[in-house]
């Protein structure tokens, strides 16, 4: 019975598959709430709804929770397009929860930087935003300028450093960078752990979420933290004298991906949505609103926006990407080691 209905639905939607006739269709996606979701609506969702006549249902959920949900509802997935910022697409593709994407089906695919679309056939969706990870510091209270990752360990900043737990995607990348700067690599995170332990002994604080970072800067006299450029902008807009600087040793990047969920029947519509997220206009809009770095080489940004993001193909190519497959494979081990290192 279910099979007959599914076939009928597929058949009917195949007949109506040209975009203009998507009137009664709905699309379910996830977004990350708050200002992100508002920008998402303005830059992608509303234009999409107007263009196709479809309705978009938004589920507010962070990558980790959204992925846990997807996994749990594997037998009856509710998402059509799912966005991840922490590399969950690697595991998702491997477990068959995400469907392969044919680049021919995305009109904007050609304009996307290559590294942002590296494994579409495997099911890992393209990145539509990049969040570069660097150093945030309070220009008014920090005793000296911050320029490199090693500066985090400078005793001049002791007791005023904020670290982010690796359960947070940005925190993970910041940690791996610190580890690399201290001489470690993806096979050996001990130097990083040692650095973190030393920092903690000198009064550093560990937080889990972005609002805690704001709290630390606004109320608790924090001077320096490693986090993403988009959040630096959020803090600046809120009136805090925070500057973002890319560390001399390099800048890791967090990829925010849009992925196609397997086992759903409106793949056509979902692909259109992902395509729209890849478009130069949508990405420029996001960059202006929240200072995320675009992955579309044709996105045009204003002067102020350019100053706050990593702009242009050379600059973007210079971003570090820690091999996400390795991160996923080792995550469990690292989380365990991290928890032990920071436990009081």
């Amino acid at each position: 019975m279910k099979a007959t209905i599914t076939t009928a639905v597929l058949g009917v939607s195949a007949l109506m598959s040209s975009s203009a006739l998507a009137q009664d269709q709905t699309l379910t996606i996830n977004s990350f709430g708050g200002a992100y979701e508002a920008a998402h609506r303005e830059c992608v969702i509303t234009p999409f709804e107007e263009k196709t006549g479809a309705t978009v249902n938004i589920v507010t959920a962070y990558s980790a929770d959204a992925f846990a949900q997807l996994r749990a509802q594997a037998n009856a997935p509710q998402f059509d397009v799912i966005h991840f910022s922490g590399g969950q697409e690697i595991v998702g593709a491997k477990e068959g929860l995400l469907a392969p994407i044919d680049p021919a089906g995305l009109s904007n695919a050609a304009d996307i930087y290559d590294f942002a679309k590296s494994n579409l056939e495997g099911g890992e969706g393209p990145a539509y935003q990049i969040a570069p990870i660097g150093l945030l510091y309070n220009t008014e209270t920090a005793p000296q300028k911050v320029a490199s990752w090693k500066d985090l360990l400078d005793p001049a900043f002791a007791e005023h450093v904020v670290l982010t737990d690796i359960s947070n995607g940005y925190g993970m990348l910041g940690f791996l960078m610190l580890n690399q700067v201290q001489g470690g690599d993806l096979d050996n995170i001990q130097p990083g752990l040692d650095a973190v332990t030393a920092l903690l002994e000198n009064g550093a604080i560990v937080v889990n979420t972005s609002p805690e970072i704001q709290q630390e800067f606004a109320q608790n006299d924090a001077w320096v933290a490693s986090y993403a450029s988009d959040y630096a902008y959020t803090l600046k807009k809120a009136g805090l004298p925070i500057a973002f600087v890319q560390g001399e040793e390099g800048t890791p990047a967090s990829y925010i991906t849009a992925n196609l969920v397997a086992g759903r029947d409106n793949t056509e519509l979902a692909m259109q949505f992902i395509d729209m997220e890849m478009s130069a206009d949508a990405q420029a809009c996001f960059a202006e609103a929240l200072r995320y770095t675009p992955t579309n080489s044709k996105a045009e940004l204003s002067e102020e926006a350019i100053a706050d993001v990593v702009y242009g193909p050379e600059a973007v190519a210079g971003l570090l990407r820690f091999d996400p497959t390795v991160i996923e494979a080792k995550r469990q081990e690292w989380v365990d080691a991290w928890n032990r290192a920071i436990a009081r």
Partner: protein
């Protein structure tokens, strides 16, 4: 209809609801705790129980829950007694005062504490100006913060449980004791307290189980450096995606709580009937 039939009818909806909508989903998850690549295995349990780090997490969870329960009982009993003996207007306001923390969103409430207890918050500032603590002292991200936050939100459960029982105690019993020469406190201790035990037990059971399985408040107030079991489980489910290990931890938590509660409940009930 017989008595037995009537009672069965009364308990049936609850029983069915729990059996189908709770036990089946839980059982399914808990089955994961013994699942391994090559069939049933106890490796997840061994991983937890054989590791001093995790055992410490378990011990901390139990220890904090006990402390929280004791403090709630110590505060809740006098509070309930007072509430039972004041005028209706005052009692209403006291009930409001006690319930209000419950009615605010847990995240907001915790943020309120964060503002008060962090390095530059009111409380450390006060202590600092009194010269009692150092420059970078903060109550945030300590076990004390967790206890404070949890007691605030669990006190109503204890207080209202006890209140319901205390109000049923015949005031003449207390008066009789006073007439026979007992001081106020002695009368309370020997007459009211024993009769209030069912309320205290009910409240303690609630408070202890809620403390042990609570995640949001300990996580926000204690920070990631102080892990409790529920936080570790949440991490395993959403972060490391290690569902079998999460399930094993859940089983250990479940068993641990039962081991403490069942004898306690039995003891309390036995003591009352004795």
């Amino acid at each position: 209809m017989s008595d037995r039939a009537e009672n069965t009818l009364l308990v049936l909806p609850g029983l069915l609801l729990l059996a189908l909508a709770f036990f089946v989903p839980i059982a399914q998850m808990l089955m994961l705790s013994i699942s391994g690549e090559n069939g049933p295995t106890l490796e997840h349990f061994a991983r937890f129980l054989g590791d001093p780090y995790y055992l410490n997490v378990l011990w901390r969870t139990v220890r904090l829950s006990l402390i929280i329960t004791i403090i709630c009982a110590a505060l809740g009993f006098p509070l309930a007694y007072i509430m039972a003996h004041v005028g209706p207007r005052t009692r209403l306001w006291l009930i409001v005062m006690v319930i209000l923390p419950l009615m605010t969103s847990v995240v907001i409430r915790t943020f309120g504490w964060m503002v008060l207890l962090s390095r530059s918050g009111l409380l450390p500032e006060m202590l600092r100006s009194m010269g009692l603590v150092g420059r970078s002292y903060a109550i945030m991200q300590t076990e004390l913060a967790i206890v404070i936050g949890m007691v605030q939100v669990l006190l109503p459960f204890m207080t209202l449980s006890i209140l319901g029982v205390v109000t049923r105690i015949d005031t003449r019993l207390e008066e009789a004791a006073r007439t026979m020469g007992c001081t106020f406190f002695a009368a309370v201790r020997t007459v009211v307290l024993p009769l209030a035990i069912p309320g205290i037990v009910a409240g303690s059971l609630l408070v202890f189980t809620l403390s042990a399985s609570s995640f949001i408040t300990p996580n926000l107030l204690g920070g990631s450096r102080i892990q409790v079991l529920a936080a570790s489980i949440y991490r395993s489910v959403t972060q490391t995606l290690d569902w079998p290990f999460a399930a094993a931890q859940a089983v250990i938590l479940f068993v641990g709580v039962l081991l403490i509660l069942v004898p306690y409940a039995r003891l309390a009930r036995g003591g009352r009937n004795g």
